[in-house]
Amino acid sequence: MTDYAEPLVSLHGLKTYYSIRGSFLDRLVGRTGAAVRAVDDVSLDLRKGEVLGLVGESGSGKTTLGRTLLGLVPATEGSIVFEGRDITGLREHDLRELRRRMQIVFQDPHASLNPAMTIGQSIGHPLQIHGITNREEAQARVAEVMERVGLAPVEQYVDKYPSDLSGGQKQRAVIARAIILNPVLLVADEPVSMLDMSVRAKILELMLALKHDFDLTYLYITHDLATAKFFCDRIAIMYLGRIVEIGPSEAIYEDPKHPYTQALLRAIPEPDPRRTIPRDLPRGEVPDASRPPLGCSFHPRCPKAFEVCGWEARDLKELLERRWAGLDEAGFEAEREAVGPVGELDVPATHVRLAAHGSAHGADLGSLLERARAADPAEPFWTGVRRIAAENGALEVDWHEPVEPRLLPAGEVEVECHLYDESALSEAARRRESAIPE
C-alpha cells in the first residue's frame, strides 16, 4: 500500500518568472523589464507513490512548473523541498546527484533521443554520466530495462537508431532511459500526446506497471483531461501560472467547482454522437502571462464572474471589439469614430477616462455603452461596473476594486474562485447595494 502521508516533494509559494528583455537603455539604467509570470505562487505537495496530474492549456505554466521542480529552470521565489531537503537554488553540481532520483519524460520522443546514438547507447547514457562505467554491468542493466519496457527481444532494438523506430517504440526507449537509474520521481510531460490513439493506451499501461514495480511517484503534465482521469490519483488544474483547483480525481471529474474546470470538461470532444459541441463555451483564449488580468485571471472569459472578480479597462476594450465584430460597417464606423483608438483602453486599470472623438460628446459614449448593455444585459462585465459618468468631452468609467482570489477548501477539493469564498461573496453583495446609481 502506498503511504500517502509523507510528501516526496513540497512546493511553497513557488514563482518562476521569465523576464522579457527590455531595451538597451532599460538595462543600462537598471530598470527591469516586464516578466512573464509562468508560475505565479504555487504551493502543493506531491505525496509519495501518487500520480498527480498537472492539467492546463498551453501557456498555463504546467511545463515550467515541472521544470522548476527538477531544477531545470531557476525558481524566482519560493522553495522546493525534495525528500525533506530544500533544493531551491542548488548548483548544477549538487543537482546532478539528485537527478538520479528525479527524471523526466518529454512529449516528443523524436526530439528527445539523439539521432546519432543507438537505442542502447541512449538508454545507457545516464549510467555513463553518473559514473557507472563498467561495460558489462552497464550492458546488462540496459538489457534489463529494455526488457522491462517491452523493447524485446533486446538484440532486435539495441543497435537500432531512433529513425528506425516507431513513435511508441521511441517513447518506450525514452522511458527506459528515465528509469535506468532507479529514480523515485518521474515528471512525465505529455508523454502520450504525440502518439496515435491505438498506442497511447499501451504507453499509459506501461507507465502504470512501472510505477507499481518500482514504487515511483509521477507528476503527469498534460492538457488532456481524459487521459488524466484514467491515470491520476489527484488533479491540479492550472490557469495562467496558478493552481485554480486541486483535489482527488473523482471529486474533480464528478463535481468540478471552478468555472474553468467545468469549461475544460465540457469542451472535450467525446466519441459519443449523442453529444453536440457545446455553445456556452468560454470566449477568447488564455491571455498574455506578462500582463495578466486584474483579480482572477479567468474573469474575462468566465460566464459566472461578478462584481469583485477584477473587471477593468481591458475588459471594456474586448467588449467593444466583440460588439463591433457583429455590427454592420456603418454601425461600426459610427461607434469607432466616437470612441477613437481603443488602444487607450489597453491598460490594467479600474478607472478610465474615455475622451469623446469626432463630433461625439461624453453623453454619446454613455448611450453607446447603454446600447451595448441592452444588447446583452446578462453579460457579467456589467456587474463589475461601479460608475459611469458623462462629462462634456469624455466619459468616466469606474469598476469595483478586485478582491484577490485565494485557494480555499470547498468540499473534497481546494478551489481558487470567489464563488466558493464567503467573504468575497458578501463583499460583492455589499458593493451591489452601495453601487452608485448612474
Partner: protein, 341 residues
C-alpha cells in the same frame, strides 16, 4: 441525396520512393452533399491527408492519380494545373492544421484578403473587398479593429479563424479541413468546431473534415468515413457507426480511444502496415481479432449491411464469394509487445 457537390470514384493516389511505390490512397470512393459534413478519420499514415490533398489536386511532385474526382460533375483529376488553380478558392477551399505557417508574416490581414479577392474576383471595388472581408471576419468573431494587424498579433485560435474566413470569403462550395484544430487548446478547439459545424447554416458549404480524433467526428460530423491503410473500411451516418460499428477496425479504434467515459485501457495489437507492401487480402487482417481464413486470401468486397452504410470486411459477406471453409478462424501469429505504431 441530391446531386453531390463532390463525388470521388475509385481514386488511387501513389508516389514513388526508393523502396517502391507507396499506395497512399487505394481505391477510395465517397460523396459529399451541399451543407454536409463528412468526417474522415484514421491514424497517422493511413492516407487521409493525401486523400484530402489529392481531391484538391495538391499532391507533391511525382505523385500519380487515377480514378475520378467529380466536382459538380467535372473531373478534377483530368484537369490541367491551370484550370485547377482557377477553381481553388472560389470552388474548392482548404484549411490547414498550422495556421501560423499559412499566413504571410509580412502581410497585414487586410492584404491577405485583398490579394485573395483580387485574384479571383478582379471586378470587386476596394469598398466591396473591405465589406466582404469584414463581414466574413465578423462572422468568425474577429473585430474590424484588427483588420490592419499582422498575423503575429493574433492568438492561435484567432489565426485559425482568420484562415477559415480567408477560405470562406470566396464562398467555396467545398471545403477540406485537414486537422484544423490539432494544434489548438481544447476550449479553442471546441470554438473552432462550433464555427465549422455552423458553416452549413451560414454558407451551405460541403465540408470534408479530416481528423484523427473520434470525438471531433462524433460531435461535428453528419457522416463518417473510417480509413485504414489507404482504404475506406467503413462509412455511414456518424451516430449509427459509433453506436454499432460494423468493421472490426472501427470497433477497436473506438474501444482504444481514451475518453472521459473510459473505464479500462484497450489497444490494438501491432502497427498499421507500410503502404508499399500492404498485407494480402484485407489490410487489417494481421491485427484483426475476428480474422478468418478468407481475409488473408482475398481482397474484401464492399457491402452495404444496411441502407446508408458500407463496409469493407468479409464478416459482412458477400457470402457467395467466400470459398468453402473460408469462414474458419485464422490462427494469428503472435504480435510482440513492441511491434507497434
Amino acid at each position: 441525396m441530391s446531386e453531390p457537390v463532390l463525388a470521388v470514384r475509385n481514386l488511387r493516389l501513389w508516389y514513388g520512393t526508393p523502396r517502391g511505390s507507396v499506395r497512399a490512397v487505394d481505391g477510395v470512393s465517397l460523396e459529399i452533399g451541399a451543407g454536409e459534413v463528412l468526417g474522415l478519420v484514421g491514424e497517422s499514415g493511413c492516407g487521409k491527408s493525401t486523400l484530402g490533398r489529392g481531391i484538391l489536386g495538391l499532391l507533391p511532385e511525382g505523385a500519380r492519380a487515377d480514378g475520378e474526382v467529380l466536382y459538380k460533375g467535372r473531373n478534377l483529376v483530368a484537369m490541367s494545373p491551370r484550370e485547377l488553380r482557377r477553381m481553388r478558392g472560389p470552388d474548392l477551399g482548404l484549411i490547414f492544421q498550422e495556421p501560423m505557417t499559412r499566413l504571410d508574416p509580412l502581410m497585414r490581414i487586410e492584404d491577405h484578403f485583398r490579394e485573395t479577392l483580387e485574384q479571383h474576383e478582379p471586378k470587386l471595388t476596394d469598398h466591396d473587398i473591405r465589406r466582404r472581408s469584414l463581414d466574413t471576419l465578423g462572422r468568425m468573431g474577429i473585430p474590424p479593429t484588427r483588420y490592419r494587424q499582422y498575423p503575429h498579433e493574433f492568438s492561435g485560435g484567432m489565426r485559425q479563424r482568420i484562415m477559415i474566413a480567408l477560405a470562406l470569403v470566396l464562398h467555396p462550395s467545398l471545403l477540406v479541413a485537414d486537422e484544423p484544430t490539432t494544434s489548438l487548446d481544447v476550449i479553442v478547439e471546441a470554438q473552432i468546431l462550433r464555427i465549422l459545424a455552423d458553416l452549413k447554416e451560414s454558407f451551405g458549404t460541403a465540408l470534408l473534415l479530416i481528423t484523427h480524433n473520434l470525438g471531433i467526428i462524433a460531435e461535428a460530423c453528419d457522416r463518417v468515413a473510417v480509413m485504414y491503410a489507404g482504404q475506406i473500411v467503413e462509412e455511414g451516418d456518424a451516430r449509427d457507426v459509433f453506436a454499432e460499428p460494423k468493421h472490426p477496425y472501427t470497433r477497436e479504434l473506438l474501444r482504444s480511444t481514451i475518453s472521459l467515459e473510459t473505464q479500462e485501457l484497450h489497444s490494438i495489437p501491432g502497427a498499421p502496415p507500410n503502404l508499399i507492401t500492404p498485407p494480402t487480402g484485407c489490410h487489417f487482417h494481421p491485427r484483426c481479432p475476428d480474422v478468418m481464413r478468407v481475409c488473408a486470401a482475398r481482397d474484401p468486397i464492399e457491402t452495404a449491411p444496411e441502407p446508408g452504410r458500407r463496409v469493407l470486411c468479409w464478416l459482412h459477406g458477400p457470402d457467395s464469394e467466400i470459398p468453402e471453409g473460408g469462414e474458419a478462424p485464422l490462427e494469428r501469429g503472435r504480435i510482440a509487445v513492441a511491434e507497434e505504431a
